[in-house]
Symmetry: C2
Subunit: 220 residues, 2 copies
């Protein structure tokens, strides 16, 4: 993202995929990056344990539908990244091999990242990896009790659309990831680029990170 000889270095984005990831957690922010990549230098790695397509279908809900996305790299062959996005979803629960792999990868790669972005219960995976220790972060409000019970080492922020602490950006549930990523794009690429993208997707942003009508609904 820095400029060298007039040509900006790429933004190298990675996304953690596992069975039962929440589709909008990934594809809300991704659509913003897809549009950004049409005018700016962006590379993408879709990361998982294997190169087999990864379904959004929850592992514990046999009747549910899902969509399958093709990874580009395994965790063990991941390229260097600037930004890693960790989605949430029903698949974050438990300790399947895929989830254990994802948590190990997050723990190992975090020191090399410029930015870690979590959406929804993706913050639970980051918390289990230990990389949120001592940091402020937020998460999905419906799953608040379960996620915040994972560790006492995180300063969980209840009323927040998203939270920034150092290089960690964490959002509340699902669609909040869109607001987080547009705020991130505004910070890194400027307000005009963020506005062009939100207008392209005809999205009325929540620009106040403390805007959170869902905090009350969760009854905490």
């Amino acid at each position: 993202m820095s400029k060298a000889q007039g040509k900006p270095a790429p933004l190298r984005v990675g996304v953690v995929l596992f069975p039962g990831f929440q589709s909008m957690d990934v594809f809300g922010p991704m659509d913003c990056f897809n549009i950004l990549s049409q005018s700016h230098n962006v590379t993408l790695a879709l990361l998982s344990s294997t190169l087999e397509p990864v379904t959004t279908k929850p592992p514990t809900c046999a009747n549910a539908i899902g969509q399958s996305v093709v990874p580009t790299h395994t965790f063990s062959e991941a390229p260097s990244l600037d930004l890693l996005l960790v989605p949430g979803g029903p698949g974050t629960r438990g300790s399947s091999l895929a989830i254990a792999d994802a948590i190990s990868y997050i723990r190992d790669v975090y020191p090399q990242l410029k930015y870690l972005v979590t959406v929804c219960t993706g913050s639970g995976l980051a918390a289990r990896a230990g990389v949120l220790d001592g940091k402020r972060a937020t998460t999905n409000k419906m799953d608040w009790a379960d996620i915040t019970a994972l560790t006492a080492n995180v300063d969980w922020v209840h009323r927040a659309r998203w939270v920034v602490d150092g290089n960690v950006w964490s959002s509340s549930g699902v669609s909040a990831g869109i607001d987080l990523i547009l705020a991130w794009i505004e910070e890194v690429y400027g307000s005009e680029v963020a506005r062009e993208i939100s207008n392209t997707i005809e999205y009325t942003r929540h620009e106040d990170s403390s805007h959170d009508p869902f905090a009350e609904l969760s009854g905490i």
Copy 2:
């Protein structure tokens, strides 16, 4: 969706995929259907010309990033559907084989559908298939001039988040598909189901179909 012997018949959803579809056009509504399917009977067919993964990468933008989704059926082997969702995106332009196949499929299947849903410039594919003739519909506001120029047989509605005419539900650009599908779920499954889903994705709905701040921005 009707009840027979106490067990509700499935909602059979299909989605048209082609290279350069807009990811949020598909995955915004799909995440709502994914959540719906965890408590209601829903089946899904992801349809394309072949069973090869379909990328969101625009065919005309070599440097852009994209994500690839795995179809479940070809157009020629599509199962019977209740609802077909047609996304938009940069890939809708032109007359590639994939787009010609999609338009033929939309034309052929429309008489058997209970509902046709278009998001963003997906309405352009439906218009080219002739199935919007004589109907009111809307589309993406940034591409308004190009889409409405495709045919004079459609009553294009400029200021609209979404439009319903008979069994055709058409939305404005990208994120408007989420509001459309939540309104559709409210109509078919009731307001409580729609509210549960919008709360699950922490999405503040636009419930007024005429709400459209992007109509002015397009300068028409």
